[in-house]
């Protein structure tokens, strides 16, 4: 046990560098995915067919491709058509695209769960759709989608380990490199798993806390 601790101490700084990158990739991808996902959801729930149909097609398309393949595509194929992104940018973009599609379905469910009476009430005081969305529908939908949204964040965080495959030096990548140079698989991957849990468990608790506080007063 003491040996484990002393080894851990020497591995930790290296892994923490990776952890920082994992957090960064996750946060950036989450920000992008949330905004884009909301946009897809708004398109999907609009009454304009020109928005509904292409969005549906795109979401189904991206959701049907494994994230790993999507990452390969952005990192290896895109340069061939002149789009050169760094590994980090490719990783963030791939994660954001894939998760924007998952999130859009979550958001859409939330928007569609709002009582029709709310929409009629908003219309009957003269609200147009954008204002109605902003003031009436989305604030209520947000509460409904909070639990699945929290779930999505955790999935995104874990999916971020895939960017290691396109050479982003995130936590998983750092772990792999460390393990192959020390052959100490046991200690290294235990630490890697532990560090992921250090992110996911507090996140879980935070989401649960948020759900309770958002539940009151309405």
């Amino acid at each position: 046990m003491s040996e484990f601790l002393s080894r851990s101490e020497s591995y930790l700084p290296f892994l923490l560098q990776g952890l920082w990158l994992t957090v960064l990739v996750t946060l950036l991808a989450l920000c992008l995915a949330t905004n884009i996902g909301l946009l897809w959801a708004l398109f999907r729930t609009s009454s304009v067919n020109l928005l509904v149909v292409p969005t549906r097609f795109f979401v189904e398309f991206v959701r049907g491709i494994p994230l790993l393949v999507l990452l390969f595509y952005i990192y290896f194929v895109a340069p061939e058509i002149g789009v050169n992104l760094t590994a980090f940018q490719s990783g963030v973009l791939g994660l954001a695209l894939a998760h924007s599609c998952y999130l859009s379905e979550t958001f859409r469910a939330g928007i569609e769960a709002i009582d029709k009476g709310q929409i009629e009430a908003a219309r009957s005081i003269g609200m147009r759709r954008p204002l109605m969305m902003r003031r009436v529908v989305l604030p209520q939908a947000f509460r409904i989608v909070l639990p699945p949204y929290g779930n999505n964040i955790i999935l995104l965080l874990k999916d971020s380990s895939l960017v290691s495959v396109i050479s982003v030096t995130d936590l998983t990548m750092q772990g792999k490199m460390l393990a192959s140079s020390t052959f100490d698989n046991m200690t290294v991957f235990t630490l890697v798993a532990f560090l992921y849990l250090c992110l996911t468990i507090p996140l879980n608790l935070l989401m649960r806390r948020l759900e309770t506080t958002m539940g009151v007063g309405g």
Binding site: Q118, E120, A121, S124, I125, G126, M127, L131, R135, V136
Partner: protein
Amino acid sequence: MIVFNNVHKSFGTIEVLKGIDAEIRKGEVGCLIGPSGSGKSTLLRCVNGLESYQRGSISIDGTVVDATSRDIHSICARVTMVFQRFNLFPHRTALENVMEGPLYVLKENRKEVCERAMELLDRVGLAEKMHAFPGSLSGGQQQRVAIARALAMRPEAILFDEPTSALDPEMVGEVLQVMRALAGEHMTMLIVTHEIQFAREVADQVLFLDGGKIVERGSAQEVLRDPKHGRTQDFLKRVMHPA
């Protein structure tokens, strides 16, 4: 003020309005009565564009209501609606519910809107509940907030869609009292209701709808006390003496 001219409306192949002609003048209270499924709510919802109609026209002060037009929102802002199930915004307080329209649709000054909203809540007897969320209010209180919300838009007319039907019996009175006061101030109102007694008191004009047509119309006195048509007589008998 509100003019119906040969209004036809169908849901699919079922025709629910079969040529409605009527006029509600400024300052007048019109009551729509009739059995369920007769098309009264549908007719009301056509007035502010919540439903579209296929033939004929509805106009408000000369502006034709067209649910598919881009201007439908400005019609809604001029003729507001009070719903059977209140439909208050549950994530906003009573005061915020009332302020919402003037503040964000009419883009009026926040301070003035707030003052007016407080006055309106006071007028419907809910000054002390202004910071309460709808979830903590009784049905009657919620409906009174909804009326204040409709009034806050300074509408030319208010549409009421069975405003007391979802209320416990002991709360009907407080809502009718607010509406009675509005009638006294000559607010133009079109009310779908089953409260025959109330209609007798406030209505300048009563329209009895059955099967998508106006079967009988006239003053409250004529239609409700002394109905000519057999179907009106039947309906009133059943409503007044349910057992």
